[in-house]
């Protein structure tokens, strides 16, 4: 079934199709539409789930942790300060190996107050153990939520599906509604709380065991890299839409690649077309899967990385990841912070002027 939907509605619709048992959420701009839509699904009985209207994001994720720990499929959504307020629980969900799925609507962090798109909120949760995906279209939000439940429950790690605030969360695009059917099997959490087999989860664990749990999380991230490929393959076979850890555009013969995430990386594709017309062999790579971080096809190419985020004192976070995984020079453009307008003409212009290496702040340098 085709319909028009926003990114936020797409997330809610995917949750509706995923047999979620417990939703707990606190509203925050620009995420509100997700929780409003789910609330209306639940109250009009289009969706059979408990909806907990919690008093804070800390409690939203804590409630999801409780539900998930007892074996139920759980969902929450948040943004920016909400995500940061959850931070402790974000670690907890991953450490407890609970396959919770969360939509994060990427938004800048105050001060100053700014409600527009930026990736610093979710990227600052990079080291918590969550799997992280960044979508760029409404359809991709929907499909990524569906695939996330499969993946999360396969490797027992929570999964964050990220989309740019307003640019995608409020953009209306065509959406193909897919009933996942048995693509998402009934949930079965192996370590769910069981009154017939009482165990204690999360109690004191001494020096001789704790690190083994941490290593298991690290291994599960690596396993997710393999599992996700087979889930994407199955998804493509069943529903006809193909995804991968990255989305490459005109890279076959490219000697210059623009790497980015989210909607800005889609804008870069238009810039690539423009540059191609001028004779530049440009291409772009959109990183969809940020954790675990995929290998990129960039060796021997001039690499320009677009970051809608910054790790102060170090530079763009995506650029750092690429520098860590690849021994290549990187020209890092930090642009789009707090919803700063970044058009394809601007991206093309920056690429034309790009040096082999260095850092450039749009609108400042």
């Amino acid at each position: 079934m085709k319909k028009m939907a926003t990114g936020n509605q797409a997330a809610a619709l995917a949750v509706k199709e995923s047999d979620v048992e417990v939703v707990a959420a606190y509203p925050i701009t620009p995420q509100t539409e997700v929780v409003e839509t789910i609330a209306s699904f639940v109250e009009t009985r289009q969706m059979k789930a408990s909806y907990i209207r919690v008093e804070s994001e800390h409690s939203a994720l804590a409630a999801c942790i409780g539900a998930s720990a007892s074996g139920a499929r759980a969902f929450t959504a948040t943004s920016s300060h909400g995500l940061l307020y959850m931070h402790e629980m974000i670690h907890w969900a991953a450490g407890a190996r609970l396959p919770i799925v969360m939509a994060n609507i990427n938004r800048a962090v105050g001060p100053a107050w700014n409600i527009w798109a930026e990736h610093t909120d979710s990227l600052s949760q990079r080291d918590t153990g969550w799997l992280q995906f960044y979508a760029a279209t409404v359809q991709e939000v929907y499909d990524t939520v569906l695939m996330s439940y499969r993946l999360a429950e396969k490797v027992n790690l929570p999964t964050m599906v990220c989309m740019d605030g307003f640019i995608l969360s409020h953009a209306i695009q065509p959406l193909e509604i897919t009933q996942p059917g048995d693509f998402i099997p009934p949930i079965n959490i192996p370590h769910a709380l069981d009154t017939n087999d009482p165990m204690s989860y999360g109690n004191l664990t001494a020096q001789n065991d704790y690190f083994k749990f941490r290593r298991a999380m690290h291994d599960a991230q690596k396993e997710a890299n393999v599992e996700c490929r087979s889930i994407e393959k199955e998804f493509a076979e069943r529903f006809g839409r193909k995804y991968g850890p990255t989305d490459e555009y005109r890279t076959e013969d490219a000697d210059t690649v623009i790497v980015g995430m989210g909607t800005m990386a889609r804008e870069a594709e238009v810039a690539v077309d423009l540059l191609r017309k001028e004779g530049m062999k440009a291409g772009s790579i959109r990183v969809r899967q940020f954790r675990p971080f995929p290998k990129l096809n960039i060796e021997g190419k001039k690499v320009i990385v677009l970051d809608r985020d910054c790790s102060f004192g170090a530079g763009g976070i995506l650029a750092q990841e690429i520098r860590f995984h690849h021994n290549v020079p990187v020209y890092n453009i930090i642009a789009g912070l707090g919803g700063q307008d970044v058009r394809y003409e601007t991206i093309a212009d920056l690429v034309r002027k790009a040096k082999p290496e260095g850092e450039f702040w749009l609108g400042v340098d």
Binding site: I52, V54, E55, I65, A72, T195, S200, L204
Partner: protein
């Protein structure tokens, strides 16, 4: 007296509580009352440590350990999952996790009438981290962060909880296990949020001889420093030991003297606070009597 309390144990030997810990005494009776169809949610507190270290557990029911501020919300998450209908979801949280850092989640859970029993075991300090002052530390008590005795007064969590109008609320003491057992059973028979506040003397933090936990718990009630009551449908019912104490309280010195934490306390000021507390609870209980009298005369 304890005849009809089941012999089944869900708190095992080998738990790592201090000798004389009355929080474990309370938990033992809570679990006896709740039985095996129970899930415990534990925020950071002594009770997290008392389970013993992984891979062992001294608790005979499943436990979800969770971060300090999150217990009530996590419990609501469990209770909200359709699959857990009919199970007893019990938070066992210390006073720090209840009156201080966990109060927001607790307030939210009661407001939503989450189907949980929240038990606060009150040892009147952050005992797990080595006895620092919590909101629940009484006036005059020495802790490691109030080394000359607390200068202000204990936060009255019960009045705060009452304002939320929970389905059932009770105050209990580890020194009166039968009363605690009955209150837990009653609470678990009620749908919605239940709150039980249990005073649990702590030999390590209060600095008294380990064998005196029950004696001190009883003295707290007898001198009017702790009350035993139930609060349902806006009505406060005092239990017998508190009724007796309000009529003729035991000397406060009897309670204060054996405890190292009250060394150098201004006993007159503490007595004044205790008197005020007794006056308040008397008024609240009497109000019901007045109400009844009014109804009767109409």
């Amino acid at each position: 007296m304890l005849d009809d309390i089941p012999e089944d144990e869900f708190l095992y030997k080998g738990n790592t509580a201090c000798a004389g810990c009355s929080a474990m005494l309370a938990l033992r009776y809570i679990l006896k009352a709740a039985g095996p169809n129970t899930i415990i949610v534990n925020p950071a507190c002594c009770s997290t440590v008392c389970q013993g270290t992984y891979p062992r557990s001294a608790y005979g029911v499943p436990v979800l350990n969770i971060a300090f501020a999150a217990a009530a919300a996590a419990a609501d998450g469990i209770a909200s999952a359709a699959r857990n209908k009919g199970k007893n979801i019990i938070v066992f949280a210390g006073d720090g996790g209840t009156v201080d850092i966990g109060i927001q989640a607790l307030s939210g859970a009661i407001e939503r009438n989450a189907n949980i029993l929240y038990v606060c075991y009150d040892n009147e300090a952050y005992s797990n981290t080595g006895m620092q002052k919590s909101g629940s530390t009484p006036y005059g008590a020495i802790t490691t962060t109030t080394p000359t005795g607390r200068k202000d007064s204990k936060k009255d969590i019960d009045l705060i909880i009452m304002a939320h109008r929970p389905r059932y609320m009770a105050s209990a003491s580890s020194a009166y296990p039968k009363d605690l057992f009955n209150k837990v059973q009653k609470a678990l028979s009620i749908e919605g949020t239940k709150f039980i506040h249990v005073q649990c003397p702590c030999p390590s933090g209060w600095r008294y001889a380990t064998e005196k936990s029950v004696e001190l718990g009883k003295l707290a009630v007898r001198c009017g420093m702790w009350f035993l009551y139930e609060y349902e449908d806006g009505k406060l019912t005092l239990n017998a030991p508190t009724k007796a104490a309000l009529k003729r309280p035991a000397p406060l010195e009897d309670y204060v003297k054996p405890q190292g934490r009250f060394k150098g306390v201004d006993i007159e000021r503490l007595q004044k606070e205790v008197n005020e507390g007794m006056g308040r609870i008397r008024d609240m209980a009497n109000m019901d009597a007045l109400e009844k009298a009014k109804e009767g005369s109409q």
